[in-house]
Amino acid sequence: MALRPTLGQQIDLALRRSIPVALAVLLLFLGILPWNTHGLGPMNANLVLIPIYYWTLYRPRLMTVWAVAAIGLLSDFLLGTLLGVNMLTFLVGYRVAVSQRKVFAGAPFIIVWAGFLLMSAVAGLVQLLVVAIVKGQIDFNLRPALFLFMIGAVAYPPCAYVFAWIQRRSMLRVA
């Protein structure tokens, strides 16, 4: 007869399972702190793609499509973007990660990193397309979008290292 987990164990498990989504929300909030980087460009939204990609590859059941949509919508509310734009962007990025999961999940780090760049580029292009349609213009400055892509590319390895550490420390037995 299997032992039923106690209430404490259930809460502990629920907390552990919420770590991927919590990390994405944390990165979203960290990204909007006033770091005063206007000279360089905006820092935030694409950082959230990192936890979405990472956990979709390694713990897909803890980063569901519903969670991704909710994070996108929260991002839209916080950043003041047109509601639904980041939601759509994150969902498309998530779909790219899901579709390539079998290729990237067990691959060497450099391939996984390339996968993130692919996902980030596709998400960025979708966002550009939607904004161009909504705003009715395409001749605006694209430097911030490219800068964000670069920030995401550079930030992926350290973030992935930290996520892997968290995964080993706290989520070994969590599916």
Binding site: P42, V85, Y94
Partner: protein
């Protein structure tokens, strides 16, 4: 055993189908939300301001260590450049003293001319000083969240300035916090005038640090370094607020360098000029009420 494997594979297939169905549903939902958001309904606006209010205390607490760290770094930089800065300030002080004597002369001349014309002076501006608690910018949006809202007398449409010049305008107002749309945002439009030639134009954000001048006359005589100030057209901002200066004149575009340093804003002022502007009238807001609201930050 076979039956168990079969039921597991059915469950996995069902889960995959649910996931795919959810994905398509959520994509459609995001387009639906975009349509609703584009209409900019009261509900959407309220939801945004409610969220800003909710996160304001957290962002305020979280942004304080950053402000302290920046202050410490700034102090070190200042100490290094102390001698050089002192010489520059001495030189600047000399120039300012000259301007002060010119200013006093003009002030007395202006007072006597106003007296002659029976001129009614503009209402004095009142302002709220607010700390910047979030830099809510992304690839296609440039905005800030400041810790001052309706409780402090902030009203939608107010000018946001620093000591150097105009920064943007208040876009959304919550109880405790507000969102300021920066001049660099792609949807920001401000009526301006070239101070030297008095030619009117519109300063349009283009998603870069240098907004563009649009709708200038064809034969305009514009030079690099020309000062750009607000024209007061539309009534949202008063006449003559410093905005920036022309830095680049190219084929089909004239770029402006803003006076306000957007990368060094820890506090900004939200100014109420009590102007019956188009924006406020359209919104049905009685601007005279804003000036009556008591606030700990409020000053005149």
């Amino acid at each position: 055993m076979k039956q168990r494997v079969g039921s597991v594979s059915v469950a996995v297939a069902a889960r995959n189908w649910t996931q795919r169905f959810a994905f398509v549903l959520l994509i459609l939902l995001s387009f639906g939300i975009m349509l609703v958001g584009k209409a900019d309904t009261v509900v959407v606006s309220r939801a945004r301001t409610l969220l800003i209010d909710l996160i304001a205390p957290v962002m305020d607490a979280a942004s304080r260590p950053i402000a302290s760290a920046k202050e410490a770094a700034g102090t070190v930089q200042e100490l290094i450049a102390l001698k050089q800065e002192n010489a520059r300030l001495a030189e600047e002080n000399k120039t300012l003293l000259e301007w002060q004597s010119i200013g006093r002369e003009l002030q007395s001349q202006n007072a006597s001319l106003r007296d002659l014309l029976k001129f009614t002076p503009d209402p004095r501006a009142s302002y709220v000083t607010a700390p910047v608690i979030a830099d809510a910018s992304s690839s296609y949006v440039r905005s800030l969240i400041v810790l001052a809202g309706q409780n402090d007398g902030v009203v939608k449409g107010q000018a946001a300035i620093t000591g150097a010049g105009l920064v943007g305008r208040v876009l959304e107002v919550g109880k405790r916090a507000s969102r300021v749309l920066l001049l660099t945002d792609i949807s920001a439009r401000v009526p301006v005038v070239i101070e030297r030639t008095r030619d009117q134009a519109v300063l349009a954000g283009n998603n870069s640090d240098n907004p563009e001048l649009q709708y200038l006359p064809r034969d305009v005589d514009i030079k690099t370094g020309d000062r750009i100030v607000t024209s007061g057209v539309g009534g949202n901002f008063p006449v003559g607020l410093p905005v920036g200066e022309v830095v680049q004149i190219g084929e089909g575009h004239i770029l402006v360098q803003l006076y306000a340093q957007l990368d060094r804003m820890e506090y900004i002022r939200l100014v109420d000029y009590s102007l019956p502007g188009i924006l406020m009238q359209d919104l049905g807001i009685d601007t005279s009420k804003a000036a009556d609201v008591a606030s700990p930050h409020r000053a005149q």
